[in-house]
Symmetry: C2
Subunit: 403 residues, 2 copies
Amino acid sequence: MDRRDPLAHLRDRFRLPEGLIYLCGHSLGPPPRTVGARAGQVISGEWEADLVAAWNRHDWVELPRRIGRRIAPLLGAGEDEVIAADSVSVNLFKLLGALLLRTPDRRAVLVEEGNFPTDLYMAQGLARLLEESGATLRLTAPEDFESSLGPDVAVATVSHVDFRTGRMLDMGALTSAARAEGVPLVWDLSHSAGAVHLRLNEDEVEFAVGCGYKYLNSGPGAPGFLYVARRVQDTLESPLTGWMGHASPFDFETRYRPAPGMRRFLAGTPPILSMAALDEGLRTFEGVDMAAVRRKSVELGDLFLRLAGERLAQFGVVPASPADARRRGSQVSLRHPDGYALMQALIARDVVGDFRGPDLMRFGLAPFYVRYADVRDAVEALRLALVNEEHRQARFRQQKLVP
Amino acid sequence: MDRRDPLAHLRDRFRLPEGLIYLCGHSLGPPPRTVGARAGQVISGEWEADLVAAWNRHDWVELPRRIGRRIAPLLGAGEDEVIAADSVSVNLFKLLGALLLRTPDRRAVLVEEGNFPTDLYMAQGLARLLEESGATLRLTAPEDFESSLGPDVAVATVSHVDFRTGRMLDMGALTSAARAEGVPLVWDLSHSAGAVHLRLNEDEVEFAVGCGYKYLNSGPGAPGFLYVARRVQDTLESPLTGWMGHASPFDFETRYRPAPGMRRFLAGTPPILSMAALDEGLRTFEGVDMAAVRRKSVELGDLFLRLAGERLAQFGVVPASPADARRRGSQVSLRHPDGYALMQALIARDVVGDFRGPDLMRFGLAPFYVRYADVRDAVEALRLALVNEEHRQARFRQQKLVP
């Protein structure tokens, strides 16, 4: 399978330690081969060489938009529909806040509680801030989300791919259901952008946020992005009205006037070093067909689940991810009561996934650098760890916190 | 003066192009000599070497607090009173929002209109977001600020050092005046941190934000910081309740609970590359006495203004900065009707300051790398440009936008 993989050459675009099977791209992607040189260029060739003049000479001011244009094709979006800025958390606040402002007669913020927790927390903080206007936070179980889309909901947010199980929603169908109820829906694409085949325009998605440091391979805490469909961009006022989102940021007017288009979602001065690393991470997508990425991702996931069924079920390992690839992102999760210790044992065997309580082992299957043989070897390593009862060893049981 | 300068050795901590007089540290500080190596270390020695495990192994999670501990002594603050995060704009929103939440019976946000525009805009966006709760934005002229501190003001914000003129306020006196009116005052230290001698605790300051990329020399768009006095930290709820500000971020609880202390002011995942550069910028302050920095800054400013008076006044150049050093930050601004073209002519003579409309030439006098001779040479270059009427040359008159 690796020999006939049309994407096999992409692995060379990254630096991965010899002998390591890295199945943690859903948390932090590996460094692109060129990112060190790019950082050096920004520091020596731009900042040092040109000092303050570098803002113009190297067009740092436009970096958020230039990066947006690189992200757009990965989302099935127009190039003026995406911009890079801040963190996923802060970007979600901008969209939720703008949508609450746009709909004063609806006050509920509906959040699917399976979202990554920071999404829940940001919505909670926003509802708290707007409490006096009647804003409320409504958390729902995943299975109740769609039926909770009602006439009092100002805005709803949901993750396309669930960070725990890799479950992927039908984006077109849910967007359409929300629209039927008049509810703007903000998609969190953190666990899908760069790993699954997104078609935001085709699915008539209006709002989304996403993450730079997972499948976009752009480094720890890389800035996030926002997507807003062209036709509704100018209906929104961001609540975080920083100077970079002003129509004329360098005219130093006393009053804020929003820039046209996506630039209105910028707030403060962008962190150029981290932005440049994001730009470089996105360069690894040059010339890559996302449909082919998705095909490989599905095959990796199907293989992983099939081998896990054949070789691990007898040890009490249970799949937590959908068997149907159409409902699964680029991640496979397995349950085991000793999942934490098992994952530590796996890491000791140079197979890196991660663990989420109470019992989930997560494996990110990034098609850019994960090989079919890696999947086979990871399952075999897990089988050996179980055979040898390594998860009972004290050294693997002591929990440490990781993001 | 340079020969007897006890801080002269600090210039070696930076990379500055040979022959250039850089008087623009109030906009973008130059790179510390070690920042390239630090970025390389983060990329190769941490991200590449340890991938996701680097979050723990290199303690990236604690970087915002570790940086806060480096900033604290520059502010005259306790080490648990400062944290690095996001941008100045976003950090100001957090504090203004938290203070509006704390005082539901007061609704005005008072802003001195001489603040850097992003501060005005962020306050405007917050007031707009909370319009239904009666929140309003009140902009005042600098001279009316103190008398506008009244019983309906929920929170006020002001810049310690004015970005246009370098005018510095009496921090202790104004803080005390605001307290007498029951108004929490948020100081913007963007143009003072690292350049003047701050004593936040002594002046009983409760709230401040500041910038990493000016006198902290930490790179374009470096993250900003927040300061909150210890005794009031736990009275505030940040409106941007991201997971990094949660009491137990890695427990993935459904509900947000604020972390104790300054960590509650974190929102999303911090951009580690830009954070590491900030950490490295702050290392240039190791072993430096801020009182000595201030003494040199005052001498540089006094010298600049004296020479400008002697040599430039006859050409219609007028000082815009206070003559009294106690009321002046680490910047000198000069007015001239052709200020823009004159600054371009100066830059062509390898003297870099910047221009703000309509007629201000700004010169940042960062004591870490600006020499007394640089001040003499800058004034002389400006005199020669005037003598030669270089500001009348078309090539210097075409305006370009710069941050």
